[in-house]
């Protein structure tokens, strides 16, 4: 396949960036999207050019590091898929593909397609945990948890923290990410003691990091590679309301 790539290039956060166009003539449809970038970079190095910097690690859709905005969509055209899981068989010979970094005030650009998502870490540090020290735990089966609750908690916990929700949201809101963690712990008995303080603190930091507001467009749910549900956002909305009324 022949593919034309328009890639955002930016030396670092301080300098302005621009699109550069690259032509790839020998792309196999069994390749993953990132393997195509490997080939592009191999080419660039041989041509004494600087390769495109992009984040990636596990390349099996679980670490959440890869983050490309492909043809106007976070992680590209397929649903339930990370960039590294996207394969070239979903593109056509002769296609032009526009690749941009996640864009949000809270995710400043480091270089080319790499952004800084440490804002997510700070939100978790504010309260995305159960305060239990090592060695404090009781027997794992001493608190039965209804299977439906455990399953729902798992669905929320499946979030990989890639930031596609923020990237795709027209407001750059982080509600899906934050609510996934809030929900996971709100659904489990272990999360109850800190339920109110947790949601308050996490929302406070979320706001302070400069994410936008949720307008319920639902785009995050559609573009989320782990298909985290909007129900989580609703759950956080009502937990936050109750927490503020009750405490």
């Amino acid at each position: 396949m022949k593919i034309t790539l328009k890639v955002w290039r930016q030396q670092n956060g301080k300098t302005p960036g621009e699109f550069k166009t690259y032509q790839l003539n020998d792309v196999s449809e069994d390749m993953s999207f990132l393997e195509m970038f490997d080939i592009l970079n191999d080419d660039l190095v041989r041509k004494q050019d600087e390769p495109v910097a992009f984040d990636h690690d596990c390349r099996e859709g679980i670490c959440g590091m890869c983050s490309m905005y492909i043809n106007g969509r976070a992680h590209g055209p397929m649903t339930g898929t990370t960039t590294c899981q996207l394969h070239m068989r979903h593109f056509k010979d002769g296609d032009t593909i526009v690749v941009e970094p996640w864009r949000a005030t809270a995710f400043p650009i480091i270089k080319d397609l790499m952004v800084d998502r440490s804002a997510f870490d700070r939100v978790i540090q504010a309260g995305g945990f159960v305060s239990v020290n090592t060695g404090n735990a009781v027997d794992a089966n001493s608190v039965p948890i209804p299977k439906q609750d455990a399953d729902k908690a798992f669905d929320a916990a499946a979030c990989i923290g890639c930031g596609a929700c923020v990237a795709t949201c027209k407001n750059a809101s982080a509600m899906l990410f934050v609510s996934a963690k809030v929900s996971q712990l709100a659904l489990l008995p272990q999360g109850q003691p800190e339920r109110h303080i947790r949601v308050k603190k996490m929302v406070e930091i979320m706001d302070a990091e400069g994410f936008g507001n949720c307008t319920n467009t639902g785009a995050c749910e559609v573009e989320c590679p782990k298909e985290i549900s909007l129900e989580n956002i609703a759950r956080m909305n009502r937990d936050y309301l109750v927490a503020n009324i009750a405490d």
């Binding site: 670092n12 196999s28 069994d30 390749m31 993953s32 393997e35 490997d38 080939i39 970079n41 191999d42 190095v45 041989r46 050019d49 390769p51 984040d55 596990c58 390349r59 099996e60 859709g61 679980i62 670490c63 959440g64 590091m65 339930g80 898929t81 899981q85 068989r89 480091i110 270089k111 800084d116 998502r117 440490s118 997510f120 870490d121 978790i124 945990f129 159960v130 020290n133 090592t134 060695g135 735990a137 009781v138 794992a140 089966n141 608190v143 039965p144 948890i145 209804p146 299977k147 455990a150 399953d151 908690a153 798992f154 916990a157 499946a158 990989i160 923290g161 996971q184 489990l188 272990q190």
Partner: protein, 638 residues
């Protein structure tokens, strides 16, 4: 050098309990002044950093990813073992201990493995308390499943994403300590050397990957938790960034390297599709619970799988190992697949694959049940291959997955450098020559939560008088200078080939000669080839861009340079071990029907290699393994 594993006295079941009770403590007031560096934030690293922080130590944690949540532990799918006996099938600490020793083909240390089995139960308790959503039964209690190499159901799991859930649990504990300012987190930092002052590990040199700055960090002790080195093969199931650099630097500074050639080849991975391939994807071993492995009975059969009638299929694992069938340990399943493909029975375009077929289970249990058990794995498979495993059998082939070898550590998890610890996959300790499924998560968390934070007290309790050493100490300066020199040397080569070119070459050599089967002749040949690759690398590599900023090619180059050196040591180790055991299969040493032939009289030891300098032959030291509680028998899964 005399290797002292410092195994406590007493009966095996009492060693840990007694040792824990007598280990010197550091009082809370002193802990506040003691700094510990933890490198790596996977299960072992995040758990250790969080627990040390909870205990009151000042911790500095490092990871090369953009967030500690992304360490490659996250990709473990299947589950975590624990001797809870919730399934009432006769499981016990002793049985888990025994299975692990046997699974490791009797090349691991009894005392360590027993301790691992003992703390396994506490891990599950801890994780549940953190809010890890393990799979549950309708009654609300935890569900278990069985895994390769054992006959009990002791594996706890969270769909096909157990590693992710456990890591996020540890990450949340770590985040809590970062929030409390007990842990200082350095993301996008890569450790490039360890600093040794007066014979003790006292800090590290790290590169800030964003700014390119070389930084000095002091710690009273240094804990490495940097994972395995499977990427020496270029293609493996490891993450792209997984590397050997930290433990290799430690090795070069004096830490002995244990059993470097013990690598695990996982039997169920998605086969290679072409030269462009950058990594391999694992399909959880749990698939073997319900999938049947087969190849056509006829060589070079080009019919579609569904067109091959039942009687023309060879379910070779069930045929050869009737007792365990498709659930034989990983090394055996992998070699059997290779044997069939080498003999010309392979399937798919590359002929380097076998079928993993779910049609029987789908007929027996229904598609719904199979979907509930493996739905996400099937999705992964379909995304990568474009084929639907519900209607067409999966094609699988073995791939490098885990490295049992690593830095040699004593019972305290301390390397031969005082104050330098290695935990999780980057040490050699618990899995012997082969790791059982669902044991890696167990070991990582055992080391991180329950072992290291206690045993490190042995060293730190003697260090309460030591003040923080300023980082302008000559040893810091020297280490930093060396790192900078190496980087500028690399940048100035300005050759013609990208880093991956050499990495791929190295990977091919190691896979071919030091992979699933090895021979003296091949290893000798491979050693020369690796040396040539090394020379070529330092002459012809091209690292573009600048060192003072984000430069992923430079990161890769630094890692690959270490992989090349490690490759040579792996070959030495494989060559020196004239027996077959676990993941190490020497063609010269096999039984008549092609099974591994151990030599317990001469090789029941841990190889611990000492670095002697560039272009010098490394020296082998041996830690004899003493088995007092299990009888060494030929592993049989028939």
């Amino acid at each position: 050098m005399k290797l002292d594993a410092k195994i406590p006295e007493g009966a095996i079941a009492d060693k840990w309990t007694k040792y824990k009770a007598t280990i010197p403590l550091v009082n809370p007031a002193n802990k506040r002044h003691i700094e510990v560096i933890v490198v790596g934030t996977g299960l072992a690293g995040a758990a250790a950093a969080a627990t040390l922080g909870e205990m009151g130590y000042k911790v500095k944690a490092f990871c090369f990813q953009d967030s500690p949540r992304r360490a490659h532990s996250i990709a473990a799918q299947g589950g975590i073992n624990a001797a809870k006996n919730y399934s009432n099938d006769g499981d016990s600490v002793h049985r888990l201990f025994y299975d692990t020793i046997k699974g490791g083909d009797y090349r691991s240390r009894e005392a360590n493995v027993h301790r691992l089995a003992e703390v396994s139960t506490a891990i599950i308790d801890q994780c549940v308390a953190q809010g890890v959503p393990f799979a549950r039964e309708y009654g609300g209690l935890l569900d278990n499943r069985s895994f390769g190499g054992v006959q009990v159901s002791r594996t706890f799991y969270a769909r096909g994403q157990t590693g992710q859930q456990l890591l996020l649990g540890a990450y949340s504990a770590l985040s809590r300590q970062i929030g409390r300012k007990q842990v200082d987190m350095f993301s996008r930092h890569e450790m490039l050397d360890v600093v040794i002052i007066d014979g003790k590990a006292r800090g590290i040199i790290a590169r800030n990957l964003v700014t390119g700055e070389i930084e000095r960090h002091f710690g009273h002790a240094v804990v490495l938790a940097t994972g395995g080195y499977g990427n020496v093969f270029f293609l493996s199931t490891n993450a792209m960034g997984s590397n050997v650099t930290s433990i290799w630097k430690a090795h070069k500074k004096g830490a002995l390297f244990g059993n470097p050639c013990f690598t695990q080849i996982h039997p169920t991975c998605i086969p290679v599709s072409g030269d462009h391939q950058s990594k391999l994807t694992l399909m959880s071993e749990s698939l073997r619970n319900d999938g049947r492995i087969w190849v056509p009975k006829k060589q070079n059969d080009t019919r579609k799988a569904v067109d091959i009638p039942e009687e023309e299929r060879d379910y070779y694992l069930e045929r050869r190992y009737p007792a365990f069938g498709n659930l034989v340990p990983r090394d055996i399943a992998s070699r059997a697949a290779k044997e069939r493909c080498d003999a010309g029975y392979g399937v798919g375009t590359s002929k380097m694959a076998v079928y993993l077929d779910f049609s029987d289970s789908i007929n027996r249990l229904g598609k719904k049940v199979i979907e509930a058990r493996y739905g996400n794995l099937f999705e992964i498979y379909e995304k990568i291959t474009g084929e639907d495993p519900y209607t067409m059998p999966m094609r699988i082939y073995p791939a490098v997955h885990y490295t049992m070898g690593g830095l040699w550590v004593d019972y305290n998890l301390m390397t031969t450098i005082p104050g330098l610890y290695a935990t999780g996959e980057c040490n050699f300790s618990d899995h012997g020559a082969n790791r059982l499924g669902a044991s890696a998560l167990m070991q990582g968390l055992a080391d991180g939560y329950f072992v290291l934070p206690i045993t490190i007290g042995e060293f730190l309790s003697k260090d309460i008088q030591t003040k923080a050493i300023p980082t302008d100490h000559p040893e810091f300066e020297k280490a930093e200078r060396e790192v900078k020199e190496k980087i500028s040397r690399m940048m100035s080569i300005n050759g013609t080939q990208p880093v991956d070119h050499f990495h791929k070459q190295l990977g091919k050599v190691i896979w071919e000669y030091c992979g699933m089967s090895r021979s003296a002749e091949g290893l000798q040949k491979a050693k020369k080839m690796v040396q040539e690759i090394r020379a070529d690398f330092w002459k012809n590599v091209r690292v573009p861009g600048k060192a003072d900023g984000m430069n992923p090619e430079l990161e890769k180059a630094l890692r690959v340079a270490d992989f090349i050196e490690l490759g040579e040591l792996m070959i030495d180790d494989a060559y020196s071990r004239n027996e077959s055991c676990g993941g190490h299969f020497r063609e010269e040493y096999q039984t008549e029907d092609g099974e591994a032939l151990r030599d317990d009289n001469n090789y029941a030891y841990v190889s611990a290699w000492e670095y002697k300098g560039e272009n010098e032959q490394s020296v082998l030291h041996k830690e004899e393994l003493i088995f007092e509680n299990v009888k060494l028998v030929q592993r049989s899964y028939k």
